[in-house]
């Protein structure tokens, strides 16, 4: 099916979107080129590849890629393909490839920056067009790679804004996660969960700032946490983080939602920052920061209380509990989420214990909270395949959002500003065919 720009433009209205954006496989294929083929996408954190030869495999859109630490310390992002027969050079996962990549099929080897190293019985290539200096005989690098405070992003397009410009105001969330470490550094620690959602990737992004669903979708888990807390006579951390979804509508209405260019944004925290001075972990954390920066700056860092941040196309960092839910589209109706947990270097051990507990209780496959999200995403996916209607509503508080110098802000925390902002970016990506050429790939979009 041909999708003209006119047809694509008609799918997104300022206040609603056509259901096909979630269900049409042709649109998904086009997203892989026009969004994931251009935008800066989070690949992984440098701490996942600390030593020369360390690698981490993942996906940028529909492309299997390798993040690798090279001799000399540089981090490269390469397509996971041997230029000889096309085999994936590395099996999926993390590990160390040594001083070079060696294909398990015919032992062609490549340096850690992807450049051709050797092929066996090379004299057989004499008199042919084989040329180890030609890019066709090296592993191809993803066009651009940039790292910000250890967070490695790659763009498959040679042109476009640099990473900082792309992130815009949302860069403050990465800063705040790192600044929570007394030495300003974080590392991925404790392992990663991978969770599958039977739904389109955009549904998850929308839900991350959907304050109106919390007390409806999550009634079973917040009620269970409340009943348990009542029986115990206290509200420990493990229950507090489930209880928050049960706040009344008036609570959510007062929250602030920020929206930035390229679909990014963040949502104000739903846990009381004043609790930071009352529980022993936060107290110790505050002291470790104030001993380095002074009390005023420590208060400023810990006072920046954000719930989900959205880096559109990459996923959702949670600064306060040091998580990054990395969102990987697999198919039009399948999305994989890689959940990373970070250790704040130099912070008291209890801070990591809290991050680990948050990961186990909220973000693991066994979460009591997430299944009800996944269930409603699945129902959206299936409901949108029926002929029961064509449009999905984004009307809430339309027209009331305020314009700021670097983005927009809601005047009511139940505004659907984040969804409108995401689809504004989606429309720009999908209609902008000017920079979709992928360097060296020579792929044209019909």
């Amino acid at each position: 099916m041909t999708l003209s720009n006119e047809a694509l433009a008609e799918l997104v209205r300022p206040d609603s979107v056509n259901k096909r954006v979630y269900t049409d496989p042709d649109i998904f294929s086009l997203e892989m080129k026009r969004i994931y083929g251009k935008a800066w996408i989070y690949v992984g954190h440098e701490s996942q590849v600390p030593n020369t030869g360390d690698y981490h495999t993942t996906r940028i859109g529909d492309q299997d890629v390798i993040m690798v630490r090279s001799t000399g310390g540089a981090v490269h992002v390469l397509y996971n393909r041997c230029p000889h027969k096309g085999a994936k050079l590395l099996a999926d996962g993390d590990g160390n490839t040594g001083k070079f990549f060696r294909c398990p099929y015919h032992a062609w080897t490549y340096k850690l920056d992807g450049k051709s190293l050797a092929v066996p019985l090379k004299n057989a290539m004499e008199g042919t067009c084989y040329d180890p200096a030609h890019p066709d005989f090296s592993m191809r690098k993803v066009a651009r790679v940039e790292s910000y405070r250890g967070f490695v992003f790659a763009s498959q397009s040679a042109e476009g804004p640099d990473l900082r410009s792309f992130l815009g105001g949302v860069i403050s969330s990465i800063d705040n996660m790192c600044d929570r470490s007394p030495v300003g550094e974080v590392e991925v620690a404790g392992g990663v969960f991978r969770v599958l959602q039977p739904s389109n990737w955009k549904v998850f992004y929308e839900n991350l700032h959907d304050t109106m669903h919390a007390r409806v979708t999550h009634e079973s888990s917040f009620q269970a946490a409340r009943d348990e807390a009542a029986a115990l006579g206290e509200m420990p951390f493990e229950l507090l983080i489930m209880d928050g979804n049960g706040e009344p509508y008036e609570f959510w209405e007062k929250l602030e939602l920020r929206a930035y260019d390229n679909g990014h944004g963040y949502m104000e925290g739903i846990f009381d920052p004043a609790a930071a001075t009352r529980d022993p972990v936060s107290r110790a954390h505050f002291e470790s920061l104030s001993s380095v920066h002074g009390e005023a700056r420590a208060r400023e860092i810990l006072g920046m209380n954000r719930h989900n941040t959205i880096i559109y196309g990459s996923g959702s960092p949670h600064t306060v509990f040091q998580q990054f839910r990395v969102i990987r589209p697999i198919a039009v109706n399948r999305t994989m989420v890689e959940i990373q947990t970070f250790r704040l270097k130099g912070a008291p051990d209890g801070v990591f214990d809290r991050a680990l507990t948050y990961a186990n209780v909220i973000n693991s496959p066994s979460s009591n909270v997430m299944p009800d999200d996944v269930e409603v995403y699945k129902r959206c996916q299936e409901g949108n395949l029926t002929d029961g209607g064509d449009w999905v509503s984004l009307h809430r508080y339309m027209g009331t959002d305020k314009v700021l110098p670097d983005g927009m802000v809601s005047t009511n925390g139940t505004s659907e500003l984040p969804m409108r902002n995401q689809f504004k970016a989606w429309r720009q990506y999908m209609l902008d065919t000017g920079s979709e050429h992928i360097q060296g790939a020579g792929r044209a979009v019909a």
Partner: protein
């Protein structure tokens, strides 16, 4: 933090042999069979009552994971979190349990391995677990129980560790106990 109490002994390597009669060994087997029957029957209250007050339910995220304190786990639950899960499963507005998950456990290869340093009985078994909720899923793995004698003479679960063969896989939600 109580949940991550590092003094909790998660090791399943025996430090001394266990002297159990044939009848007692049979009793241990029957206990393991009864445990999963409660899960298959969704009789969660009866299942909760099988646990020692400070017992932990653990499904590691990694093969040969040393402990649940430094790395994430698929499940790491104390009494409070087991009760919360059951309360959620029993809530009328548990959207993702409509229809509910049905499951069938097959437990075999039961072997009494010995005692840990506190005298808890270490029992190893294999489990095959088929689950259905719209789609059928099959989980399998090695289970280690640590059992302690209850006040009334029966066994109580001090630790249940389930090492799934696919612990590092991509998972759809795990809503019920394995």
């Amino acid at each position: 933090m109580l949940l991550l109490d590092r003094n909790f002994d998660v090791s399943v390597t025996p430090v001394s042999p266990a002297a159990l009669s044939a009848d007692e060994t049979r009793g241990v087997e029957q206990f393991l069979f009864q445990e999963v029957q409660y899960l298959d029957d969704r009789d969660f209250d009866a299942w909760l009552a099988l646990w020692d007050e400070d017992g932990r339910y653990w499904v590691p995220r990694f093969e040969r994971q040393a402990n649940p304190f430094e790395q994430v786990s698929l499940f790491w639950e104390d009494k409070m979190l087991r009760e919360v899960r059951v309360k959620r499963l029993n809530n009328a507005r548990n959207w993702s349990q409509q229809p509910p998950t049905r499951c069938s456990h097959l437990v075999g290869n039961v072997a009494v391995k010995g005692l840990d340093s506190a005298g808890h009985l270490i029992v190893r078994s294999s489990v095959h677990h088929t689950e259905w909720r719209g789609e059928q899923r099959h989980l399998a793995g090695t289970v280690h129980h640590k059992l302690v004698r209850g006040a009334e003479g029966g066994w109580r679960i001090r630790l249940k560790r389930v090492d799934l063969v696919n612990c590092d896989s991509v998972f759809a939600n795990l809503e019920v106990f394995i």
